[in-house]
């Protein structure tokens, strides 16, 4: 699954797949724009058969989820785990520590989503 997703990203971002790892940040490192993310999601749907919900796949509503959690006194990690069940607890804590550095989406998050939502 990792190789397939890296191949999709490399194809759409027009770059060498060997330059992409699970730790690569899509926006921070690759400069992916919203249209690139849309196309990556569409390719995951059509090439890999993964049902895609863009907001969840690309953690697009992450800051909204955190704001709502704050307003309802819900622990941030609990709110994120509920919204993004494909992410591990360790990854959620890493995201929370990484927020100040910019968009947190990594290739590993796409792989986790695809693995979690892969049709049985």
């Amino acid at each position: 699954m990792t190789d397939a997703i890296i191949a999709i990203i490399a194809d759409i971002m027009d770059m060498d797949p060997t330059a992409i790892t699970q730790a690569t940040y899509l926006v921070r490192d690759l400069g992916a724009e919203s249209i690139d993310l849309l196309e990556i999601g569409v390719a995951m749907e059509h090439r890999l058969g993964i049902p895609v919900q863009d907001d969840a796949l690309f953690l697009r509503d992450l800051r909204l989820v955190l704001r709502l959690a704050e307003e309802t006194n819900t622990p941030a990690a609990t709110a994120l785990a509920s919204r993004y069940p494909h992410l591990t607890s360790a990854r959620i804590h890493a995201i929370l520590e990484d927020l100040a550095n910019g968009p947190v989406l990594q290739v590993a998050d796409l792989v986790a989503y695809a693995t979690f939502h892969r049709p049985s």
Binding site: I35, L38, E39, V42, A43, E45, H46, R47
Partner: protein, 237 residues
């Protein structure tokens, strides 16, 4: 001029109208595979004069379950010709809110869902062409066409925005505002007002064919008018 088409499959949304059935043989003559939706079984049997039954689907855009069933088995489409339009006219202040709600749902929200599904499939193939057949009423509504005008402009806006967002990835859009067409509801209207310029459905269909072709792809994210000069006059005829 000979036209070329890099795609193969055409979907006519609301294809049983005169414009749709005029367009079908033109598309077929270009080697394109045409599928069409229609709203009722009676329109379906009319369409069967032009298309084999397996290429006709009943789709009621205002009905959520009909739309869901259609999206479940989305036909292949490199080209979309959107002929779906709202029916019924009333003064805005007299408009039944329930009817208005249903029309906005069908022509706004459900149309968007359809465009999302078709657009994503086109994006996956990096080619697609979407053409929306609008109306001069979007620019200059007559009294009683307020809702019709608003819905047409909303659809034009969606098509324009889709083209802006996707043209760089091979999916382009265009809207065609037709004047009074000498077919359907337009025919008796023109018959009573012979001084008004009408648009022949054959000419409109030929224009659509061109706009779908590779040669017409540079008409992108824009709205063009084909009204035989109806709106060009300072004073109405």
């Amino acid at each position: 001029m000979s036209l070329t088409f890099q795609g193969k499959n055409v979907l006519l949304l609301g294809g049983s109208c005169t414009l749709g059935t005029t367009l079908i043989p033109m598309l077929t003559a270009q080697g394109l595979v045409v599928r069409a939706t229609t709203t009722t079984p009676s329109h379906q049997s009319h369409l069967e004069e032009f298309l084999p039954p397996e290429r006709i689907v009943v789709l009621r855009l205002g009905n959520a379950s009909s739309l869901a069933a259609f999206l479940e088995h989305l036909p292949p489409a490199d080209y979309l010709v959107d002929l779906a339009h709202p029916r019924g006219e009333d003064l805005l202040l007299a408009q039944d809110p329930t009817v208005a709600e249903g029309l906005f749902l069908a022509m706004g929200v459900h149309r968007l869902r359809l465009l999302q599904a078709l657009g994503r499939a086109m994006l996956a193939r990096r080619f697609g062409r979407m053409l929306y057949v609008s109306s001069t009423a979007a620019a200059t509504p007559a009294p009683g066409q307020g809702l019709y005008c608003a819905l047409k402009r909303a659809a034009e806006g969606m098509y324009q925005a889709l083209g802006i967002e996707l043209a760089g990835r091979g999916v382009s859009t265009v809207s065609l505002r037709l004047g009074i067409t000498d077919a359907g509801r337009g025919a008796p209207f023109l018959e009573k007002r012979p001084q008004l310029p009408g648009v022949n459905p054959q000419d409109a269909a030929a224009c659509i064919l061109y706009l779908l072709s590779d040669q017409g792809l540079s008409f992108c994210s824009t709205t063009i008018t084909m009204d035989a000069g109806l709106l060009a006059r300072k004073y109405p005829l």
